[in-house]
Symmetry: D2
Subunit: 275 residues, 4 copies
């Protein structure tokens, strides 16, 4: 059982939380606590060993804590995700393999593509694929069709696994801290289009990838995970793209792992990730 | 103020600790808790914002917790260390520089060398250097002289910064979890002498270093920190030694940082390091 | 076109090689040369831009170089591989995905399993799977059956992608520097069975994986690639196994990339890898 | 002996170079060659075992190669450097230690500071320190005084080891590919002032450093080396500065190593680094 709590910081919060747990006879296996002393904000993640009535526990915690406390009690760790893709297979395939062998910690409900090319790999794993062409319809129509598919399924997160369309503010606002994107650079370097070409021209010695929540500031949402790999003068822009796919796959996999294990808080356009 | 507590695990420990803190009006800035569910052992590190009578706090915690609880309350983070060296300058110099510019988080009380060659660099930083020759006296005499110097100084840790003598069980037993060594391989690979020659012969693609507490099993004490660097076929054994010095310096610096910031527990010949 | 040459070192080898190339009007795009000055051994890898009659080129090089020179001229970079597996899916799936999307630089000819469980994932990618049960037949019979399947296919390398049987000396000797294994530790640490359990008991702070050629000294063959990931006290032995799968997958992928791009020499039980 | 050659690419360059070497009876220990196929530019670094009349060798190479060939023959690897600093000790101290113990591969001729605070550490290593105050004189006067000191010493490189003044175009133009700077971010992220504050506000998960040649485009010169370290939500901007110093020190040390070992070419505002 994982419990996530955030609220304005004050003295005695841990005592209140741990008091409720102890009173209910629940042993705490691991606890992480962080106070952002600048924002005066309290964050904690508690892993507890023994299960109980999670609804009651939530109620007792709410009573013991300040009114503004945001509490989530997750008795069931398995999450549900919907993937949005365009043409690139690498992130999608990695997630499908983990889904198929039940090591993702989440279940892929369906895949939506604005191109049809990735239907085949989804079929091979019996994951529903919805093709919604963005060329034959207007943007609002396109997003309306996306929403129809999304609403026909359960989901905790929408994962843009190399989805190459920019979503409208109206769409993004429907899913605050629910849309995750993989960006092909170590943000904030190389914001926008064609980061590998930019990186090649600049002669950088490392390239990276960034997984972040999507907000209405392009490439400016809260960063969940970043990694880089060293490169050198022998890399053409095409080689960088190829090497980049490896790091994009790894970074999105790591970010999803953090999310499905309930390790991520969002506050002030930043994340707290209790690894 | 940093508080470290370990004891047998049971329900309610966090509540007891946090209860004492809240009652004393002490705000918790950050808290890490770990239960070794195999050993049924509880470990916590609490960073608290407001200072108070640390003696009283310790007493109240001891009263609120099981009798076997090992509690340390450190109002003063600055530690004292004594260095033991032989001939190699790299770890020593790095520590002296940080000591000199007051960024070590510890104060170097003195340096003891079984060779005289490193006296000069200590002199340059006005750190007392004691030369105790191991060749002109028997081992027990050598260690008796070491002890005399050590006992004339205050210390939290004895740091073997490339000290190339094996200490006797009688000596080691005087300083349980107080002697830190830097070993020039990623243990348990290449235990014993000449690890770089061994690594060269084996054709490994990475070399490493390990900082560990010294026990009476050679190179078998609790590991605090390990890092590696990639190498390749162009490295001779001599090149590996040279590259190894960089990683040894970095690993010992990291281990010392963890120790002087009170982030390390020892239990069952392993460490818990709350980074 | 990639040219690999190794021979006893002497003055003028590069001049001879480059002379032949220039005389044939072949531009050299990139050249790596290494002399093992201890073994007095010369290794070079030449990437040349313009194609030509590779048989003739090989002949001219042989004539210009010492008799003992081992020369390979590869006009066609695509390699063929056969995979041997047991029950674990992670390395196999990663290779199948790359094979399927034609980014492996090699073509998977077939998969042989001593358990049947991985047949399904091979079927999904239309890669032939041969089940050869090791329990219902003697070891020599088992290996005879392996050989029959292998000989029915073309191959450059046999890849043990988590194949948990030890092959006999008679079998291994048939494929010198042709069998690649992925071992689940940073060799030479934790040779033999259950390395993650060993690592857990020792309390190491990093775990790794090693891809190496198989020889008749168990886990002692030439190392092609090694990588590690940091771990900490929160990892159970089971968590290490899980994290280990990620690093095993990455290390085998990297080693295969080096092999299929003709970047690996073997000499004196070590590799020269021109990355 | 290290030989560096760059020129327009054409067929037969390696043959010409190796031909001259062979004819002089010089054995090649290691050779790296790279062609930038976009720029049609050839780069090679040759390490040769036996020494000879390097002036004659240079002449013979010049005769054998196209007129535009830029050839350097370095019989003596030890370089000379001048350091420019402001107030921060970390890069300077690391370089002074290596200089003192003769493992820098270069000799520090002198240190110039626009503050006086680092004079003490230079004195301790008997390295001349020149204090040139930038506040009491105009910028052109300041740079004139810099030049006077520089011209009184020999140097291969001017190293800005945390020198916090921007040099004028007139000054920079005097030292093309001779001024090396350490920048406290993984460029091109966080160009300009206060990169750690920027990084903190953005909530990045890694921070880095970049060593580059100084040109008249601020922070836009050819990159020699970049590295990063992972950080997390517990890092304040001050913690990032502290962690940044470690990575800055490591990156500048690595870049200097590449330079003093004659491993770096510059072309088209990029570097070729033969590691």
């Amino acid at each position: 059982m994982v419990i996530l709590i955030q609220c304005k910081d004050r003295v005695g919060l841990v005592a209140s939380i741990a008091g409720v747990m102890a009173q209910q006879g629940i042993n705490i296996v691991s606890m992480r606590e962080h106070v952002d002393t600048e924002a005066i904000r309290f964050f904690t993640r508690v892993v507890a060993e023994h299960h109980t009535d999670s609804g009651l526990l939530r109620e007792l915690l709410q009573k013991a804590l300040p009114e503004d406390a945001i509490i989530s009690v997750n008795p069931e760790p398995e999450k549900k995700i919907i993937l949005l893709v365009t043409k690139e297979y690498h992130c999608l395939s990695d997630i499908l393999i983990r889904h198929h062998f039940k090591t993702l910690g989440a279940s892929v409900q369906c895949v939506i593509g604005n191109h049809e090319v990735l239907k085949d790999i989804c079929d091979r794993f019996e994951v529903p694929f919805y093709f919604i062409d963005h060329e034959s319809r207007a943007k609002d129509e396109f997003e309306k069709n996306l929403l129809e598919v999304i609403r026909d399924h359960s989901y905790d997160y929408l994962v843009l696994a190399k989805f190459m369309r920019i979503l409208s503010p109206q769409f993004v606002e429907l899913f605050p801290t629910r849309i995750v994107n993989i960006h092909h650079s170590f943000l904030p370097a190389f914001i926008g289009a064609n980061p590998y070409k930019q990186a090649y021209m600049r002669g950088v010695k490392l390239i990276g990838a960034t997984a972040h929540f999507v907000t209405n500031d392009l490439d400016e949402g809260p960063i969940i995970e970043q990694q880089i790999i060293p490169i050198n003068h022998t890399y053409t822009a095409a080689d960088m793209v190829k090497a980049g796919k490896e790091i994009e796959t790894a970074v999105l996999a790591k970010a999803l792992k953090m999310l499905v294990e309930d390790r991520v808080f969002v506050y002030n356009n930043k994340t707290i990730v209790f690894e």
